[in-house]
């Protein structure tokens, strides 16, 4: 099992490297001269040339990339063109907020989506099941940012129950998490439901019933673990989408996180910060994919055994 994790960690590195390369390449071709942004009113030919040398912008593409990566490994994300402060500072301050929102959304998705999916999968022709299917369909189509605005209108403006912005305290996390998670909760709900339906039809469920296992345990002990496997995959695939959506959520709820930092940096043409945000997000996605792979391997004895977890 350990070998499996190590192997996957190592496989992650070239992927992250490649992503960094892609992002770096895209940003490299940004038209315009960054020295304009940095020097602003103090721009002169000389100052510009000096700055370019200082920042290494006069070197070839590959050299620049190499330097960037080298620094990246050591945790140095470069200097922001705007604030002249290390990008890593900003990231460190903002990233935890993003994580909070994403974690909240995850909790909402899985905590609500899975049980509802299981229930409606076990009783597929009931009113509850039909209701969840409708809700699921609607949920998948709701744009995050609109949902966010609607939630603010209802819970903040009309009812005054929950705050509409900022990130202090538990209450302020509720609306953003729901807005961000709604799409994916609907997705997870539908996937769990259909994989549950699929599993319940299997022969081994019939064997369990024929043994006299009671209905509740048939679902919990026999069906659930088998049904969860496609769900876990979907949860994994959705994490990337969550990180994309968090940008929108932070904008709607004015949360000082990495997403908003990214948008601001793009507007101000602050390339190092843009790069930094994108790289961090890509790393997140890669790490979460790894975690999902590990969980999946743990759940399926065939895969677990392949990597030295079981006998044989």
């Amino acid at each position: 099992m350990f070998k499996f994790i190590v192997r996957r960690l190592l496989a992650m590195i070239p992927v992250i490297l490649a992503v960094t390369f892609v992002v770096f390449t895209i940003m490299y071709f940004t038209p315009g001269d960054p020295t304009n942004t940095i020097l602003g009113n103090e721009w002169t030919e000389d100052a510009s040339a000096k700055l370019k040398t200082e920042l290494g912008l006069d070197q070839s593409f590959l050299v620049q990339f190499f330097n960037y990566t080298k620094n990246l490994i050591q945790g140095d994300f470069g200097m922001s063109y705007i604030t002249r402060a290390p990008v890593s500072e900003q990231l460190l301050a903002r990233f935890p907020n993003t994580l909070k929102v994403v974690a909240g959304a995850m909790l909402f998705c899985v905590g609500l989506g899975v049980p509802i999916g299981v229930f409606s999968g076990v009783k597929p022709y009931s009113l509850f099941s039909n209701f969840t299917m409708v809700v699921g369909l609607l949920g998948v189509s709701l744009p995050i940012f609109w949902l966010g605005l609607l939630l603010i209108l209802l819970f903040s403006v009309q009812l005054g129950w929950l705050p509409s912005s900022g990130i202090d305290g538990f209450a302020s996390l509720i609306l953003p998490s729901v807005a961000l998670g709604a799409n994916y909760m609907a997705n997870i709900m539908r996937t769990t439901r259909s994989s549950m339906l699929e599993v319940i039809r299997q022969d081994y469920i019939r064997t369990a019933k024929a043994k006299g296992v009671n209905a509740r345990n048939v679902v919990l002990n026999h069906a659930l673990q088998n049904a969860m496997m496609p769900t876990v995959t979907v949860i994994g695939m959705n994490i990337g989408a969550l990180l994309g959506g968090v940008v929108l959520t932070e904008t709607v709820f004015s949360i000082p996180g990495t997403g908003r930092l990214l948008v601001e940096a793009i507007n101000k043409r602050d390339t190092p910060t843009v790069l930094g945000c994108l790289v961090i997000m890509a790393v997140c996605v890669a790490v979460s994919n790894l975690v999902v792979d590990i969980v999946y391997a743990y759940m399926d004895p065939r895969i677990k055994a392949q990597y030295g977890g079981g006998k044989g």
Binding site: V22, I26, T30, V140, S141, P143, G245, I266, M281, N289
Partner: protein
């Protein structure tokens, strides 16, 4: 002997035609039985019609763009069905014209993704082996970046105009599309009649175009529908955060963004644009789901 061969060829053709038509018929019938899918289809056709006839419904310059301050922030009435926005413009007019942009960008970007991603995926799936590996590795790298972020990066680099947006969104869908096409191709590749076609000496290109692509048609159509929904969502999302279509061009996303400041006292200002996005995406999702169920009822 030649007579026999000729007869067989024409008979084969006859049956091939028959089989294809009846399968299409069957699929279409199944689709029609799915009420939700048909509703989705109708709603979407309605939206397309609205977009096409937009200039007839509301004049672009006078109603959608022109600032008319005395008229601002009026609640919905018979004169202005959805009310007016913060610049005094009729919201309905803006929505109707916004539909054009969303649909055009939606379709164009997916077409781009289909073209590039489809070609890559088909090649990877058909030839397999090293070519498959290389192409898929490249695509995997892109999968690590969520769509929105990749589009953002491209927009950040190259600026926000209609063409760039389309390219950005199209490129961000390409990896996913290549995967879909690749797996469809690989499934079909294994089927016996491809072997048979090879046995009678068809060239690879011939096989790809005549046999493989025709059978991939189904899953690809489903994905196209769902991705158009996604593309429309992405363009409005990008416009919402200010990195998409810029004001004063009416786009549902940027309408939400500019209306946001006034929504506390004028809630209607964020209703219509959001509803427009929601209904469009919903209809496409219904359509895509319906197509998927019609094409392979077992998957239900």
């Amino acid at each position: 002997m030649d007579e026999a061969v000729k007869k067989y060829t024409t008979r084969k053709e006859f049956f091939k035609q028959y089989k294809k038509k009846s399968r299409l018929q069957e699929t279409w019938n199944r689709f029609l039985r799915n009420k939700m899918a048909v509703i989705g289809l109708f709603i979407f056709i309605f939206i397309v019609l609205v977009a096409i006839t937009a200039p007839i419904i509301a004049n672009y310059d006078t109603e959608a763009i022109k600032i008319n301050v005395p008229n601002r922030l009026k609640a919905p009435s018979t004169e202005h069905i959805f009310g007016t926005d913060e610049m005094g413009r009729d919201i309905m007019a803006r929505i109707v014209h916004g539909a054009r942009i969303s649909l055009v960008v939606g379709f164009a970007s997916v077409a781009l993704a289909l073209f590039i991603g489809g070609a890559l995926g088909a090649i990877a799936g058909y030839y397999g082996g090293k070519i498959d590996d290389v192409i898929m590795r490249c695509m995997d790298v892109f999968l690590c970046l969520p769509d929105v972020l990749l589009a953002l990066a491209i927009v950040a680099a190259f600026g926000t105009n209609l063409v760039n947006m389309t390219i950005a969104i199209g490129l961000s869908f390409t990896p996913k599309f290549s995967r879909v096409v690749r797996s469809a191709v690989m499934t079909v590749r294994g089927i016996e009649y491809v072997e048979a076609a090879r046995a009678i000496g068809s060239t690879n290109t011939h096989i790809i175009t005549n046999h493989v692509l025709i059978n991939c048609f189904g899953p690809i159509v489903v994905q196209v529908t769902l991705y158009v929904a996604s593309a429309i969502l992405t363009i409005s999302a990008l416009s919402f955060i200010g990195l998409g279509i810029q004001a004063p061009i009416p786009e549902w996303g940027n309408m939400l963004a500019s209306g946001r400041a006034y929504m506390r006292d004028h809630a209607y200002i964020v209703m219509a644009p959001g509803l427009a996005i929601f209904v469009t995406i919903l209809s496409l999702n219904l359509l895509g789901d319906g197509l998927r169920d019609a094409l392979d009822p077992r998957l239900k």
